[in-house]
Amino acid sequence: MIRKLLAATLALGVSTSAAIAAEVKIGFVTTLTTPAAVIGRDMVDAAKLAVKHMNGKMAGLDVKLIVEDDGFRPDVGRQKTVKLVKQDKVDFLTGYIWSHVLLASRKPALDAGKFLISANAGPSPLAGKLCHENFFSASWQNDQVPMAMGEVLNQLGVKTLYIIAPNYAAGKNIVAGVTRTFKGKVLGKDFTRWGKDAQLDFSAELAKAKASGAEALFAFYPGKAGGAFIKQYAQAGLEKAMKLFTVFTVDAISLPKFQKAGLKVVLGSRSTHFWSPDLDNPANRKFVADFRKEYGRYPSFYAAQAYDAINLIRAGVEGAKGDLKNADAIRAAMKKADFGSVRGRFTYGNNHFPIQNFYLREVVEDPEDNWTSRIVKTVYRNHQDPYAKECPLK
């Protein structure tokens, strides 16, 4: 009797594990609460669109997307990563908006032998000393976008700069990035409180920036803080005294809101990026058109990265012909980066961060009167992050 029961249990176990093997489980850790939830929503929408575009299949296996909310907090993000690894037994982990959340979640994911794919955050340690064979970036390294901005400032002949950024891992990287390439003088820097009770009133910092007499102001404020920052910049009457240059601040998430509030100061404002909705390649045209049809708004760069992350996973799964146990084959296929990225063709460096182009974008009004971004010119061609050489991977 006992033996029969055991056999039945075993058989049941075998059959359920067989059922598990017939699907690719992707854990998606992002922010669905707090005001940063708008970013998470854009990413989840794009990931769902990617799955829809592949008819819900990768190499014949069903795709199961399990979305978790990090609550904008590293401890919660880590907890959710552990839950996805241990309880849901996912094959891939992706999402991750925030550098501090990704850094906290890195160990439980990689120690369990899972593939970890950042769909946004690109903290310097993961590009350098902490790089890992199973970690891939579907976005950029934090320093690269502001490095391109520093280059743009040099080309415009800007001599003096004031910097305001949030006080967390990515804020530090971004400031390091712009100061690495900017050849003029930085007259002052402010790092402001960030996270759940982030500072949203920048009066003190803007007054300091104005008093410094710098020609230009550089800022990095993703999410709702960006709107607050630009509004207060305009209210303080700084647009004549010092020109504003931003990265990751004016995007498809903030633009509709700026437009509703009639904040004309952002029209024509310039930022650097690896992607833009008007980037002309077949994958991007399809992505932008279908995203707009499905959700009635322009996709943000976060959405583009999430879409790419899912397609990168698909390239890995298909390279291993659906054998999810064959990590070497999955890794080799992902490293080729041959999946029709919305940013166009790119390659992976030794640290599994993209070597890609960076563009200067400006805010314009499209023919249907929506505010959106347009590429002005290419700043960097095939640019690699500065930390790759610290990474021991080949």
Binding site: T33, T34, P35, A37, V38, R41, N167, K189, D190, F191, T192, R193, K196, D197, A198, Q199, L200, D201, S203, A204, E205, A207, K208, A211, K224, G227, A228, K231, Q232, A234, Q235, A236, G237, I253, K257, F258, K260, A261, G262, L263
Partner: protein, 311 residues
């Protein structure tokens, strides 16, 4: 030192302090008079911002939206008092904290269903979007002066109301000794509902004033409630005067810390170390102020003379 910059930063600090006062005054009134801990007080701040943002879009006028939104937030205050707070008067603070924490979750969820996850930006009329030059050369956004002006007007109104009207006298009587006030025939149920509504409207007003600076967003209530609690602890729980002084103090300490702490630290350490340490210390400057005040005056700066709650 550059006086224009100093003046600008002091005005910035006052403006932050005024917003804190508007939230903290309602909290301290409800706590001091009703002996009720309302963690959901920040929710009125958020609702004020969202409701005025929506009304501003409908009516096309931000000042009008504030006038219309104030009674609406007060009504929400009355409703939550009746449904959540009234059954819990006289119960332990833990029960009140649990219930009002639940109320935060409910209001946040409702706000998310009604307004979605994106924030709502509020457009100011052009005459508020300009700048004013003060003597001494400091150029300030006009709107920040509007915040300070309206906050001071409210503070003066509150003072007059509490100290020079019959209703204010009843409020003071109930705060001093609830049982005695009731024994003398004061309708405390009506009084409490009125105080609750007033507190909600004040917090709502703060939200309406801050929305054009930042935006109306979910979780903005949680951001303000902690610092508002700090303010009423510094000021002495139940004291309006304490809340006023403590709020201005907290606003100034926070703003001036952000403005000059890095320069100050550079005198004692390397520029790199100062750059890292200053934001960390300025983020906790208000809490350091609270710790200092609690060490010297555990009852706060202006504790009310009597707080008989007959327990």
């Amino acid at each position: 030192m550059d006086t224009a910059l100093l003046v600008t930063q002091i005005v910035n600090g006052l403006q932050l302090g005024i917003l804190l006062f508007l939230v903290a005054s309602g909290l301290t009134l409800v706590f001091g008079i009703l002996d009720f801990v309302n963690l959901a007080h920040g929710a009125y701040y958020m609702l004020g911002a969202f409701i005025s943002a929506t009304l501003a879009r409908w009516t096309g006028s931000w000042p009008l939206s504030v006038l219309l939104a104030l009674p609406l937030v007060a009504l929400i205050g009355v409703f939550t008092e009746r449904v959540v707070a009234r059954p819990l008067y006289g119960r332990s603070h833990l029960a009140q904290v649990l219930a009002t924490f639940g109320l935060i979750l409910v209001i946040d969820a409702v706000a998310m269903l009604v307004w979605g996850v994106e924030g709502q930006a509020v457009e100011l009329p052009a005459w508020l979007n300009g700048r004013v030059t003060l003597p001494g050369g400091a150029e300030l956004p006009a709107y920040r002066l509007v915040i300070i002006g309206s906050g001071l007007a409210v503070a003066a109104g509150l003072y007059a109301w509490v100290h020079h009207t019959r209703f204010g006298m009843l409020v003071r009587a109930a705060a001093a000794n609830r049982d005695m006030a009731e024994a003398l025939g004061v309708d405390t149920a009506r009084l409490y509902a009125a105080v609750f509504a007033l507190g909600a409207a004040l917090a709502g007003l703060a939200g309406m004033l801050v929305a054009p600076l930042t935006e109306a967003s979910l979780a903005m209530g949680l951001e303000i409630i902690i610092i508002a609690l700090v303010v009423i602890i510094i000021g002495g729980i139940g004291s309006l005067k304490g809340a006023f002084v403590a709020a201005l103090l907290a606003g100034l300490v926070d703003t001036l810390g952000r403005a000059w702490l890095d320069d100050l630290f550079k005198l004692a350490m390397s520029p790199e170390a100062a750059e890292t340490a200053a934001p960390a210390v300025s983020a906790m400057s208000v809490y350091l102020l609270m710790a200092l005040i609690l060490a010297l005056r555990p009852q706060g700066l202006f504790p009310p003379r009597t707080r008989g709650h007959g327990q």
